[in-house]
Structures are given as structure tokens and as C-alpha cells.
Amino acid sequence: MSVRRSAPNFEAGSFRDPDTRVFHHNGAVFRCLTERARSDWMRLAATDFYARFTGQGRLIPTDQVVDDTGLPDLGPKWTAVLKHQRIPMISYPYEWSFGMLRDAALLQLDLMLASLDEGMTLKDATPFNVQWIGSRPTFIDIGSFTAYEPGEPWAGYRQFCEQFLYPLLLQAYRNVPFHPWLRGSVEGIKAEECLALLSLRDYVRPAVLGDVYLHAKAQARFQASDRNVKQDLRVAGFSSQLIKKNVGRLRRIVERLRWSPARSTWSEYEHEHKYETEDLQAKSDFVSRVLAPRRWSIVWDLGCNTGTYARLASEHAEYVLALDVDHLVVDRLYRALAQEGNTSILPLVGDIANPSPGLGWRGRERRPLVDRGCPELILCLALVHHLVIGSNIPLGELIQWLAGFGADLVVEFAGRGDPMVERLLRHRDVQHVDYSQAAVEAALTQHFASVTQEPLTCGTRTLYHARATA
């Protein structure tokens, strides 16, 4: 008797390249390939750079599925299936720090150079093809590699500029944050949009005259052209040597880009906070006591700042998400983690009052932040007052939202009389009457199975450990 096989659970964000498609099955990640993509995969698997980059952890480890028994029925279009190593948590470029986007760009360019050396190329150049294992960028789209056809120009040059180079240039040269822009426009920043924000002085800076100004003019000039430029270039003898020149040139530019403002709202918190030393120790001990009894799979540290507690958590967890709204503190944390070669803490820029939503086609191509992780423990230290008073989020709704993850929760609550709370309230007419210790305890008791607490010696702050309902 034949067993009817299920339909594949295709990843909603993998529809763009018609030659490959990602699907999930029993918690594992697979990629099905058309005959053309299968041939590219065979070629890729035989290259030296594939083994080299995979060995360095810069390419996602991948195996071809030999026996597809038990896999969904894929239909005749797909002739081969690959199995990828799973990424602990998917993130998107509008959640990365400057250093992360820059390092992802360098990986993209390095792969381009390495593949051209062995007769291959990349079909595209989007940061969505790069993911993170802690602070290590890993290229995930094996389907992007294809045989290089002599005479072909670099197909991904425009995309590289719009999604890597222009966001980096605007942040480095003009201090324009790329996060809201990339979140609003998943296709990236257009050359003319980038140009509009640059000053006359910027024209002498690397990449501006050629990759921005001329690019904008060239696109405007040839936008309505019916000519097959690709074919014209092939006839004129365009070669991979020319692509290598451009990729090498861009690599030198990107590598030298720096964004390092002296300070930001939260960058000096570690030196300027009002904690007494004994309270800091008590806070650290409390978090350690929650963490120590077991091994956690994923921990989220919301409002991580320097990452002190994310690091503490990583001693007891497989993977930690360190999230903060302040770009500079996340970039500094990333640089420190990258220097250590840390692969268990993922630093991201994000605002809990406005978490990344679903974006792109059907609003499902890029998934909301809350759908991309399944934390077992959430640390929410010195954050609640900023969300409730600073962003006017009702306290009860915040606790209910946190409880919705089904995870344990560690909360630090700063009551009235706390210097930071006083500062937040000083110019507000609405005095947040529901912001009280009694209210937070009532909400925790309502949404969690049990709650333990420990007041700090300062007298205005209390730590809570709320255990998730089974």
C-alpha cells in the first residue's frame, strides 16, 4: 500500500529565484533544486572555495539528500534536495549594526571573488542571503551560485549598491541610520535617493562619484532603453576580469568604512548609571540563580546594553539574542563579540515598542521578530519603565505580551522614587497612575505560574523571576 506524502511547507521568503525553494520538514531546513540548479550545485560542491568557506563557517554546511523517503511530495519540477544546517535565529539587515552589515558585505564580495576564480558567480547580492551564528556571518543561499557565462556582467552589482553599499555610506558619511529605511524598503536604497542626502564634500569620498553619482545618472539615462545591454557587453568582450576589478575595488572601499560616533543615548550607561556596587552584584547573583539550575536553549536579553547579562546567560544557554534599541551599543557589542569569535550571542538592533513586523510579499516574506525565535527565558532588566513611561505602553499589556512567549521571565522593576523613573516622569502631565509595584506583581501573578522576588538595597528596584505556566 502506498503512503500519501504531504505537501511541502515552503518558506514564504524563498520564492524569488525560480530554480530553488526552501522548505521546512520536521524542524529541519531543506532546499529543493531544479535540474539547472542541481547542475550548479554539483559544480559548486566540487570547488575548492566551497570546502574552504564551509570549513571556516562562512558558508552554511549543506548535504545532498540521497534518500528522500519521508520527505514531502515535491513534484517533477524539483530534481534534487539539499539539507542545510539550521540557523539558530533568522535576522534581517534592518536589525543589524553597521559593523554587521559591513562584515556581511565583505563576505558577499569575498564569495564573489572566490567563485569567479573557479568559474562560478553569484546570481544576486542581497544581505538577506547572509545570516549570523552569533557574531559570525554565514552565507545561506547555496542556490545563488551558478556557472559563470563568459561575457556576463555582474548581475548583482546594482543590488549590492542598493542593499549593502548605500546604507553603509549613508551611515558612515552622513550618520543617517539605515534601519528604518531598509525596514521601509526591503529592496534597499536607490542611487538617486542616496545621492540626495550626500553633500558636495562627500563627492570626494570613496564610492560617491562612481558608485552613487554616476550610477544614478546611468540608471536615469538608460532606464527607458530597449537595447539588450547584456548582449552588447558580451560582444564587446566583457570578462570576469572586469568583475573582479570592480569587486576588489568595492571590497577595499567597504573595508575602510567606519562609523564610530563618540556617544549615543545609552552608550555610556555602564559608567553613568546610579547602581551601588552591592546592588549590581545582587542583580548579577539573582540572574545567575535563575540561569544556573538548567541548560536553556534560547535566552532573549531585551535592552542588553553592553551585553553583561547576555554573556552571563550564554554560560547556561545554547544561544542568546542580545537586543537593544541603541545602535551604537549594539555595534560596540558586536565588535567585541566578533573579536572574541563568539558564536553563541547574536546582537541585534531592535525596539520592543516597535518590533520588526512581517514585510514583503503577503507580509510574510520577512517574518516578524516575535515569530523568529522561541525563547525559554527572557531577561527584561531595567527596561519596563522605559517602555511603560517612555513609550506609554500599558504595564498590563506589556507583561501579557511577554508572557505570550511561554518563557520564564526575569524583570527588574524600578518603582516611583527611582532617579530614572523620576527623570522619565518629570515633563509628563500623564502621571501613569497604573505604574506601581502592586500593578506589576498583579500582572505577573495573573500571567505566570509562580513569581519570586528580591528587592535591591537601593529601595526603589525589585527583581522578579516569573515562571511560565506549563
Binding site: 524569488r16 542556490g143 562612481g210 540608471q219 536615469a220 552588447d232 557587453l233 566583457f238
Partner: protein, 123 residues
């Protein structure tokens, strides 16, 4: 897991790739317009209504493409690289691009010569 991202026009190019095969007999390539040599090699920029403007030609605008399309090649990439972006790669390619640029101009020149010769024979 996410996969590749591309311009929306790229999706269109893969859908109609088969219909975009072009040869030297493509309609319109045999026509000779009464333009000057200079204009054929580097046409003046035009405004939206198609009238030539007095705007100074940029270096990229000077890169007009060759006219004879000899080889039949399918356009099969799923991402549209953009005409201007492809040409810019030649401009930014430095010394390595000199030969390609020279050929682009040379082919453009010879194609116009051939067209004029064909036109003269017809008359």
C-alpha cells in the same frame, strides 16, 4: 530560511525570458535615421517628451551601445541587473575596461557604417 531577494523587474525578466531572444534581424535595426555621426555615437540627453535637452553629457551618457546583435542569447538571469548598472561596470573597471570600452565604440561605429552601406545599396 530566507532566500534570494531581487528587484520586481527581475521576476518579470525570468518570466518572459524566452520571448526576449534577440537577433540581428530584430525589427528596427535595419532602419537608418537622419542623425549625425556624433549623435549616433553619443545622442544628446532627452527630456520626457523626447526632445533633446541642453544638459551636458555625463561620461556615462557617452557610452552608447553597439548596434549589431549577432549572437542569439537567452536572457535567463532571474535578477535584472539594470542597463545603467551594467554599463557602469565598464566605466568603473579602470584600465581593465579600456579594451571593452573601445570595442563598444568600434562596434557601434561599424554597425552604423554597415547600415549606411546597406541603405545606399537599396537605393
Amino acid at each position: 530560511m530566507v532566500s534570494a531577494l531581487l528587484q520586481s523587474t527581475g521576476a518579470a525578466s525570468c518570466l518572459d525570458g524566452a520571448s526576449r531572444r534577440q537577433t540581428c534581424s530584430h525589427a528596427g535595426h535595419g532602419q537608418v535615421s537622419p542623425k549625425s555621426w556624433r549623435e549616433r555615437i553619443a545622442p544628446r540627453p532627452r527630456d520626457v517628451s523626447g526632445h533633446a535637452t541642453n544638459e551636458t553629457c555625463t561620461p556615462v551618457a557617452l557610452l552608447v551601445l553597439i548596434g549589431v546583435l549577432v549572437v542569439e542569447v537567452p536572457v535567463d538571469a532571474y535578477l535584472d541587473p539594470g542597463s545603467g548598472s551594467m554599463l557602469l561596470q565598464v566605466v568603473l573597471g579602470g584600465f581593465a575596461a579600456i579594451g571593452v570600452m573601445a570595442k563598444l565604440y568600434w562596434h557601434r561605429l561599424t554597425s552604423i557604417l554597415r547600415r549606411e552601406e546597406r541603405d545606399r545599396d537599396r537605393r
